[in-house]
Symmetry: C2
Subunit: 396 residues, 2 copies
């Protein structure tokens, strides 16, 4: 049995294919590339029960990851985060089975560790020596630290308003960190110039095809943790959207393997009212989003005015009869405190937005009382302690 069943890269727009043994970024048509696997072969040799005694990280599913040689794995123990019952919060919003997938228990305190672990491992396998990327904070922190572990240099460009903790994580890892006066889209332009100038490996969201493979493991883990069943609804805070795209991709792969049945969960993209391009596109039934001007929200991780993979996010929503919904900052910060006080979980603002979205969707009947609902908390609340501290009026 091969360690990885990776087959090739393919374009979801024009269906052109590429080898996975050389570095590739976008398709010539401009679309992100996705990773394909030999699922027909794998179906015959691997069963869910084979996983039960495997290591407790996302690498337990190594056949469904793109890294071909085990020795290229760069890991800090990411993945297999807990799926926790939230009974008191569920009761408070009349959802009988409310669960939280807590991504705050990843290295670097956010789900970004998943993408960084797989992205950096594959970069190492491809012989890459230096990466560059723009970030709203957590991705840059994760990629900086995993790059350090791999012995790969990193150049990170971040808005100066991004969480100070994530700036510290980049700097302590030895990455070359630039703080700019602008949004992640402005940071992206600077990174683009640096990449051209110094021939660096572009690790920007969806411009390298492998981070999505790390993030899809959230979907596979949820299925395994529920005994190879899926919930009725999954809510996901959506900025670049890679997590949601990944979860959808994972569920389709599990269907191909015959590990879950035909019914998919309804996928919900949660955004902030201050930056809701996907929500606007979904409301109009469009297949792509428009750039959101003057984007602003305390949920910094979803402050993404235009996602490169917007069409994939919208496809996942349409294909699963899901929806998209925006939450304002005041509502999400109030939900954040309620979650801590009822369930002892200090979630990040993006996670809190997704719980608030579940509450709203239950109120308007889109979620039924007996739906099994999984909310992704994408990171630890402590990474945003200053936001929360201000809300709570803590003074020395």
């Amino acid at each position: 049995m091969d360690f990885s069943y990776v087959s090739h890269l393919s374009c979801p727009k024009c269906h052109q294919t590429y080898h996975s043994d050389q570095p590739h970024h976008l398709c010539t048509c401009g679309s992100p590339l996705l990773v394909d696997y030999h699922l027909d072969d794998l179906r015959n040799v691997l069963q869910p029960k084979d996983l039960s005694e495997r290591e407790n990280s996302l690498w337990r599913y190594h056949e469904l990851l793109p890294v071909k040689k085990k020795e290229n794995i760069v890991t800090l123990g990411e993945g297999m985060t807990p799926l926790l019952p939230m009974p008191k919060l569920g009761q408070d919003m009349s959802i009988s089975c409310l669960l939280m997938k807590d991504e705050g228990l990843n290295p670097t305190g956010s789900f970004k560790a998943r993408g960084a672990a797989v992205g950096i491992s594959k970069a190492k396998e491809l012989g890459i020596q230096e990466i560059a990327m723009p970030t709203n904070g957590n991705a840059g922190a994760a990629w900086s630290l995993y790059a350090a572990r791999a012995g790969i240099k990193a150049t990170i460009v971040m808005p100066k308003d991004a969480p100070t903790i994530t700036q510290t994580e980049c700097a302590v890892s030895g990455a070359h960190l630039s703080l700019i006066d602008g949004l992640i889209s402005d940071a992206g332009k600077i990174v683009g110039e640096e990449i051209k100038k110094h021939d660096l490996y572009d690790a920007s969201t969806l411009k390298e095809p492998y981070r999505i493979e790390g993030k899809k493991m959230m979907g596979i883990e949820i299925a395994e943790q529920m005994g190879w069943k899926v919930p009725d609804v999954i809510l996901y805070p959506t900025g670049g959207g890679v997590g949601l795209i990944g979860i959808y991709k994972a569920l389709k792969e599990l269907q191909s393997l015959g590990w879950i049945d035909d019914k998919l969960p309804r996928l919900v993209a949660v955004q902030a009212t201050g930056c809701a391009p996907i929500v606007e596109a979904w409301k109009k039934g469009k297949s792509e989003s428009c750039f959101w001007s003057d984007a602003s929200t305390v949920a910094f991780g979803i402050n993404v005015p235009k996602a490169l993979g917007d069409f994939l996010v919208l496809e996942a929503i349409y294909q699963t009869d899901g929806c998209a919904i925006a939450i304002d900052d005041e509502t999400l910060l109030s939900e954040l405190q309620k979650i801590a006080q009822l369930e002892g979980a200090f979630v990040c603002p993006e996670g809190a937005a997704s719980f608030a979205a579940a509450r709203l969707l239950r109120e308007n009947g889109w979620i039924k009382e007996n739906d099994v609902v999984v909310v992704l908390n994408t990171g630890a609340g402590i990474k945003y302690f200053d936001t929360v501290r201000n809300v709570l009026f803590i003074t020395k």
Copy 2:
């Protein structure tokens, strides 16, 4: 088979025993109490192989925990943190097998979650409705959040210089938080008065006997993760010392069960030069420590001038041919950066002190090149980001 094999509480000084079905704090002789189990019975019914498919948290060892009914468990997914190889750092300090047990991957970002999970679960089982404790930060944060999850009220008293993040965690959980101008020992006096005045449950370090049971699981997990073997050396950052006492207790229990052989790892208590009462006591061959005046270190979690369990820490060191060693702030902050740059791990100052101690002990020959060495990183570096930020001179 019973869910828990708890037997009773016993005093390690005067050997008096107490029931574990009523709330107890210190022995009448003033010593902390320890939890005993029916290990002879358990040996006949549980084998290491029975654990392999159990849940991935410290509750996988529920027979060796004091909670009798499963429904009283209050969990956020604590324990079973990764044991990571640190090959480049090991090479840098000439230790051929250097491993890190990364406690930063616990809920609330530190090993304190272990003690809080078990302590709060047992408090719930005992019918407790309100707890109080002094803290240097992380313990208060963990107990506040687990108490909220259990529906138990919490009063927390903390030095105002403790990490701001941990203050935020207490406040967001709805705990009653007091910030004082003083040390944890001063906070302890205030808590003592509050407990008398309002008849609260004293959750101070070692004044309730159950938090140590959560922390001992670090020892059991290390053994399981190494295939029921133990390393040659374990280094532990030591403030109150509960972690070290717990690991020693765990290893003795595993010996009684016949799950590990007779050889124990040499246990090393790591302190800061600005607060090293255990180190001073060990140097003089004493069985107890003296109060350390003007205690001060950036490794705030080990800024404990006099530990109630000092005699148990010293016993663990003497019984395992271990040692105690102090590291200055400059050295530990320099080690912290080296660890991030070589291994991609952003450890807390206390963890960094323990790596620096391994380096020193290797240099002076106390650790041999081929010793298998496990260092405990007790928390996530991000919880101390402001300390690190200052060292790195990050400015916007």
